[in-house]
Symmetry: C2
Amino acid sequence: MTSPEAREETVLSAVAERREIVNDAIEESLPIAEPERLYEASRYLLDAGGKRLRPTVLLAVAEALADQSPESVDYRSFPDLTGEPVDVMAAAVSVEVIQSFTLIHDDIMDDDDLRRGVPAVHREYDLETAILAGDTLYSKAFEIMLDTGAPAERSVEALDVLANTCTQICEGQSLDVEFENREDVLPEEYLRMVEQKTAVLYAASAALPAILLGADDDTVDALYGYGLDVGRAFQIQDDVLDLTVPSDRLGKQRGSDLVEDKRTLITLHARKQGVDVDDLVETDDVDAVTEAEIDEAVAALEEAGSIDYAKETAEELVANGKARLDVLPDNDARRLLEQIADYLIERGY
Amino acid sequence: MTSPEAREETVLSAVAERREIVNDAIEESLPIAEPERLYEASRYLLDAGGKRLRPTVLLAVAEALADQSPESVDYRSFPDLTGEPVDVMAAAVSVEVIQSFTLIHDDIMDDDDLRRGVPAVHREYDLETAILAGDTLYSKAFEIMLDTGAPAERSVEALDVLANTCTQICEGQSLDVEFENREDVLPEEYLRMVEQKTAVLYAASAALPAILLGADDDTVDALYGYGLDVGRAFQIQDDVLDLTVPSDRLGKQRGSDLVEDKRTLITLHARKQGVDVDDLVETDDVDAVTEAEIDEAVAALEEAGSIDYAKETAEELVANGKARLDVLPDNDARRLLEQIADYLIERGY
């Protein structure tokens, strides 16, 4: 058994190992072209940081399928299952570019001021530029995904997954907004929303390299399922962390989801158990809430078994997700994907 | 020689002929799915009207290439150049969906209240829904373009044109915003902006059916050039109409471009001729300007030869565009494409 700490170190160093070349690839695929201000705004969040977790999943799946170790490969000319070269790095960049587009537009919709420690794009630039920067990244992601050099049939399938992923992200974001005005959201509905809003991009990250390298449908489906499972677990863990991690480590007020009446798996479970969720925290101002109020609310949610329920749901999803990796050869890259799954629900923040 | 009036009637009836089946196809490809509010907002402008000029160009190119007359064809199962069926209607819908996405986001950026006689989407719904509706149409357009049933190599090329078109539209829109704050815009720069913002979608509409039906590269390039030419002419004519058509027929204040200090080919030419364009109209309030002020400004622009310059530029573009249609067989559909080109600069509003 590996300890959570050792696992975290393994995962973070594997991510860091690939991050630099992913960052170089982003610069190559998305240079600051004319009009400069538009491309600077488009690159702003990408350059501000991010773990590159989705590209790491994508590259690790490619390594696992081709039985390659990361030190030995050129991702730009990666051997597919018949030995022909495919640029899997282009696919990794495409997925990260989509992620960045959704963050820019989400920040406008949620009117958030900060992202990755820097002003949101609509704050650093303006609303018009932020909308347009997101729109530019959107089409660029498709252009980049068309640059893998894979056979046309596989490119078409990859594009289809990418387009469908984007549609689902929009649907999920729309449901998220709708749920804020609905008290009777069921946990199943919440999980479906999380699947669309967050998990499908992990699913695409895991399935796309299999498609591009020419894996069979069962392998593609299993990897897509892995991404859906760990992506949902990731979001549920985010909701748990919001209640259990001290504000200073969290980088924002602990319990802000409760203050803002956000629906989470935890509060939806508690409501079903008869907890008066709306009155758990009286204030709706994150700056005014006290630690004591949050402590009391968390105690009530623990009492109702809601935090355990969320943790167990996330653990179950991770176990399911890991089991799906059976379709991959037994190698280091597959073990990394297992460890990423564990890390997503063990991480402290 | 056909008279402009006869030509207008021919074009408008050809457009009307295809509009109904295009509208049916939009409903088929973009049904009101869950979440309903999101899909209703996405369909709102599409349902509010529009001539469907771009789909008409796309379908007419398909007819011309395959030497078919519109009464005899099923666009969903249209014979490619080897006789295999291709759904060119899907491509026509995709292009119209992209057009609608750009209108929704442009109206937010320009803070326009009305579009096609109805409130803009961000007014009828809200900012969040409008951003998301545009984003949904964006990915749906790619999904729909993947539904033509064309061989994979052609689908990849079509997707590449679509993605590149969207990138250019974003770049053009960004330049348009930038030019509002620059006095020294050159006519060439303006034409390049118009090409990216408006003409590329006409170019895509003309080139996509050729790609999907398996035409050779020269044919594809010539048709793309036709679209670029007539698309630019269309935009220049819009600028001319803003000055020359009475307000009641125009549906908005005549000369509003001058009042709002918008850069157009006309004012950029006049500036080069030494006309003090910024002081042509004193007020910057469209509701306060008088017809006499506009008359005087238009007279100054006529005096400088700027309106004639714009008209001649548009005529030259249309002549070039029509000449490019030589790659098509000589048939009714080709003649319709020629007439559409003429109509775009002859139309009164």
